[in-house]
């Protein structure tokens, strides 16, 4: 059986309520699901002995500005066993701007989620250390949001006295 079919079959039997959507774009296999299931799905993909997605390559978010579900959180995971890359997506709305952490599954996503929190303001529930990673801790804004001006907000970042 082809690996893509295997993945979709396994996930559909294990997570029938996760609103799974499979799609393919430029030879990349995409999987969209309800954000409530992010932790169990990631855990399953990593720990299943036939799949073994051991590597979380990247994790970021997309700000769609005016869409109903404003943000999409994107995970790029990789199975070394099959030399296969999978893209996971989950929508997050601004009214409930949070999603469960996967840092318990892949340790590397700890800092990636901190970056995502810093730049987009998405909160990661149960994250062990959710602090800003790039901007100063007292900074109040999230720079990669579409409504943040390119040159920043005057006075929001203090300069030393001359």
């Amino acid at each position: 059986m082809e690996l893509k079919e295997l993945i979709s079959q396994k996930l559909q039997t294990n997570f029938p309520e996760a609103e799974l959507e499979f799609s393919e774009y430029r030879n990349e296999f995409n999987l969209k699901f309800n954000k409530k299931f992010v932790n169990p799905i990631c855990k399953f993909l990593k720990e299943d002995t036939e799949l073994e997605f051991l590597l979380c390559e990247d994790m970021t978010a997309v700000d769609w500005a005016k869409r109903k579900n404003r943000f999409t959180v994107v995970y790029h995971i990789f199975s070394i066993k099959h030399n296969f890359r999978l893209v996971l997506k989950a929508d997050v709305d601004e009214s409930d701007c949070s999603i469960d952490t996967v840092s318990s599954v892949w340790k590397t996503s700890n800092w990636q989620e901190r970056e995502c929190y810093d730049m987009y303001g998405i909160k990661f529930n149960n994250h062990p250390d959710l602090r800003r990673i790039y901007m100063p801790e007292e900074f109040e804004y999230h720079p990669l949001r579409k409504d943040f001006p390119l040159m920043g907000i005057p006075g929001s970042l203090p300069l030393p006295k001359k």
Partner: protein, 173 residues
Amino acid sequence: MGLEAKLNSDGFLVTQLDAVVAWARKNSVYPMPMGISCCAIEMMASADPKYDIARFGSEVMRFTPRQCDLMIVAGTVTYKMSHVVRKIYEQMPDPKWVIAMGACTSTGGMYRSYSVVQGIDQFLPVDVYVAGCPPRPDNLLNALIQIQNKIGRTRARDFQNLKLPELNVIQNN
């Protein structure tokens, strides 16, 4: 030969003490290499045998601000880094000078962005700006010569009313 021959024939030399001090100072400028990004590579190149900053008496790059009197800020200064740059500047003993090396340091350069300070003259007194992205080593040497000329013109009275910066005392409890 040289100075000895002059001293033998004439015996003494009359000048101002001020002028001697300024002459000595300008030919022994100790740079503080504040290399933050790619301009630092060109700054290092200016110290190598080809460009040879030692010809101007400035080969002693000190990595402690306490021993320097010229700060070469070479690279993109972010808002987060600006506090570090200012702190190192304040740790240098007076009198001191600053070179803003490269487009990023002088104006923010191509980083027209929320995180980059658009010119370090917003928080440091800059003496010479160096154009280029990054500037060639000979351009940096030109800036050093400009600084040397500036130092050569100084007199002791210029430094008499210097105020000590306000020290931020950090207490560790």
